[in-house]
């Protein structure tokens, strides 16, 4: 027998924008909510590139899920990992434990996609988690340190070459920030190298960067990046990454680039739960593993299972999938919460989800951005200001809104970046040489679990 609770049990898997906004919108519903996440914090992913490039700290763009939801007395946060689903018995399967649900919302997002070249991921890390960002930060700043020590001009050049693969918003933001580091912030900090000799390459397979944007904004963005010192190469495919050599193809032409730092911003694939849903609920996935949901965001044939956020392929509105951005996930979370509340009141026959696009923004360096607000498209400092205020507005969930603003203001006016500590790898050097000569990993169980 399944033990049944009095109140309607909603289980939400994933504490990103989708899951969090659903939980918040269910606060006043006649439901008990359990939010499950592997991490104890919500991450403001749109600013992750600023962690990677040394402007802010992970905690500045993260907020503890328990803290955000502490006043939602109907909500329990569970730091756990969902490994399977049982739609028949209405259970989510955790490690050694099951959890019953009446309604399930899955919002576990996406990870990097290497298009069948998974072996590239160690050489060309992506940017989805705090650890990813700290790893990128480590690599970027270690490259300058290594160049400072390198005497061979060829190797030094490879250390000072940064390749960003993928010309979407993340790639554009990373390339702009790295160019500003090399040509601005770090300029006076080294004695043996001239950081302005660095090369920052942004590679895009299509014929323009920021492909989802209108062509004129793509051109503006490319021009701005070029002014910052970035080399933008479009119609360029990466065909191989082997050690510090990256092979590209542009039309008929192949080129080999020696670069010690390669950053991946080229593609995403659905998180593992997508496949689980496909297997258990018999639903179709798209090419990158996202779940093909119904117009009400439920899984076809399973009206009490919803998939929202980046993990969902929602195509009924435009014919093409909605983009994997925070506003889509937030609106989806709120829509599903409302639908659940109405259902519990006895309603049926709900209008399909519609996404209200307030506009798209991508930032290029410290005072330029491109904005596509639908009725108007423009670029430059005004777009950048809108970007700043839009992000501050959404950071409203965060304790640290004011702090992030100040970090930005500081780094804007001084062009300094305080958060550029190299941690992790460097620490291995340090702890590797304790007087007793023993090795101690900063991640104690890493070796055990590996």
């Amino acid at each position: 027998m399944v033990e049944t609770a009095e109140r309607h049990q909603v289980v939400i898997v994933g504490g990103g924008f989708g899951g969090l906004y659903a939980a918040k919108a269910l606060r006043r519903g006649p439901v008990d909510v359990t939010l499950i996440d592997k991490r104890n914090f919500h991450l403001f992913q749109p600013l992750l590139y600023q962690v990677a490039t040394g402007t802010v700290s992970p905690a500045d763009i993260s907020s503890p899920l328990r803290s955000i939801l502490s006043r939602n007395r109907n909500t329990t946060v569970l730091m756990e990992e969902v490994i399977d689903l049982d739609p028949e018995r209405q259970r989510v399967i955790l490690k050694g434990k099951e959890l019953p649900y009446d309604t399930l919302i899955v919002a576990t997002g996406v990870s990097h996609h290497y298009f069948g070249n998974e072996q590239w991921k160690d050489t060309a890390p992506g940017l989805k988690t705090v650890e990813d960002a700290l790893e990128m930060r480590r690599r970027i700043f270690m490259a300058f340190e290594a160049a400072e020590k390198e005497t061979d001009p060829e190797k030094r050049r490879a250390w000072l070459t940064f390749v960003i693969v993928g010309g979407g918003p993340t790639g554009v933001e990373l390339a702009g920030a790295i160019a500003e580091l090399a040509f601005g912030t770090l300029r006076d900090d080294f004695r043996n190298i001239d950081t302005t000799e660095a090369r920052v390459l942004l590679l895009e397979g299509l014929d323009r960067i920021l492909p989802p944007y209108p062509p004129e904004l793509s051109a503006e963005a490319a021009a701005s990046l070029t002014r910052l010192g970035v080399t933008v190469q479009t119609k360029t495919l990466v065909t191989d990454i082997e050690g510090a050599t990256i092979t590209t193809r542009q039309g008929e032409q192949t080129e080999q680039i020696s670069a010690k730092t390669v950053l991946w911003a080229a593609g995403v694939k659905a998180s593992a739960l997508g496949q689980v849903i496909a297997d258990r609920a018999g639903v179709a996935l798209d090419r990158v593993g996202r779940v093909m949901v119904s117009p009400d965001l439920s899984v076809p044939g399973h009206p009490n299972i919803f998939v929202i956020g980046d993990l969902a392929n929602v195509s009924h509105q435009d014919g093409k999938p909605l983009p994997g951005v925070a506003p889509v996930a937030m609106q989806e979370g709120q829509y599903v919460a409302k639908l659940i509340r109405q259902r519990l009141k006895g309603g049926s026959d709900f209008p399909p989800f519609t996404y209200t696009n307030a506009g798209s923004l991508a930032v290029i360096g410290q005072n330029r951005a491109v904005a596509d607000l639908g009725f108007i498209k423009f670029s430059g400092p005004i777009a950048w200001l809108i970007w700043v205020f839009a992000h501050i507005y959404y950071l409203i969930e965060f304790d640290n809104k004011l702090i992030v603003m100040l970090q930005w203001a500081w780094s804007y006016f001084t062009r300094k970046r305080g958060a550029r500590l190299i941690t992790g790898e460097a620490s291995l050097m340090q702890v590797g040489t304790t007087p007793d000569g023993e090795y101690r990993s900063p991640v104690p169980d890493a070796t055990v679990k590996a």
Copy 2:
């Protein structure tokens, strides 16, 4: 032949308070300075316990060495590790490289001391590096998460028991901060546990906590901690740590405590370079490996090698060694820099180093501290305010002074702690379950190097 440089070459090993203040004070000297550190940042260690307990981020209390010294045009920062010395040939030995010096300043500090029980270090981590602090943070917050999920009351109690070994300033600060977490900050965040049932034990081997302070301040500190909810046990020795069981002895009485979180604040030993100096320069070390220096802080018989900061045992002033605190290291760095400049002017016969003690401060929770300013001893909110302003004053080196102040103000007035993300271990869970099922360590080379 040794290649000789025109200018006097000063090599400083270690970018802590001692090394950094020496480098800064040599800015206008007729010397070339090379500052070598394994890390690319200076760490404000007195606030490390606030990283461990979730108030601030590592970058808030760190500052890039290159950035601090970028205007010192005579100074080169080298991110390297010194593995040996050759006083005859006046060289420091790096990995695969040598560096000549005319004057050498060694300031590499101390690490944890387990008094012959090195096996305890995995169970009871200490607090010296950024990684240490993040590891402590992870353990503290994971303990509450684990307790929330635990159904066995005994095990739950073990998860909610925090033992801090060592009643010096670090132990007192940690115990106070953890008590505030359990009895304040986290109070409303859990649904299955009552965090106010947590036990926070501070164990000290001597007959009072804060042994270097006057007895009346030790008593005040103990009373304040008790009010915060900390159980203070003096005259208590830890005789064994095995898994989650810690065995203590108080006089004739032994006790076993079940605690999943044990933090080590009990002792330090000199860093590895101390032994190298002893071997190469034939100097005596004290019981914990610190170098017994001359009254001018040079190594006896080697007037051009200085040891400063926590690594030095400077006993000529009081008969007992100066404490391992930041002000001592700063003054020693400045003293040695001045001595070098005067020597280069042809001077000799310098007065021995004397430490000017402006006072000692230890903080106990969010608005109490104890202060021993020599002419006056007191505790309470005024002592706490002095502590705050003293630390802000010394953070003056840091970009982030204002930010840290605001973090403090925020956490003071709201009793919230924003920087409580659990990273590292939790990330292993996450990256361990990528769709392709492959394991990826957040510290890529950890397994290779281990």
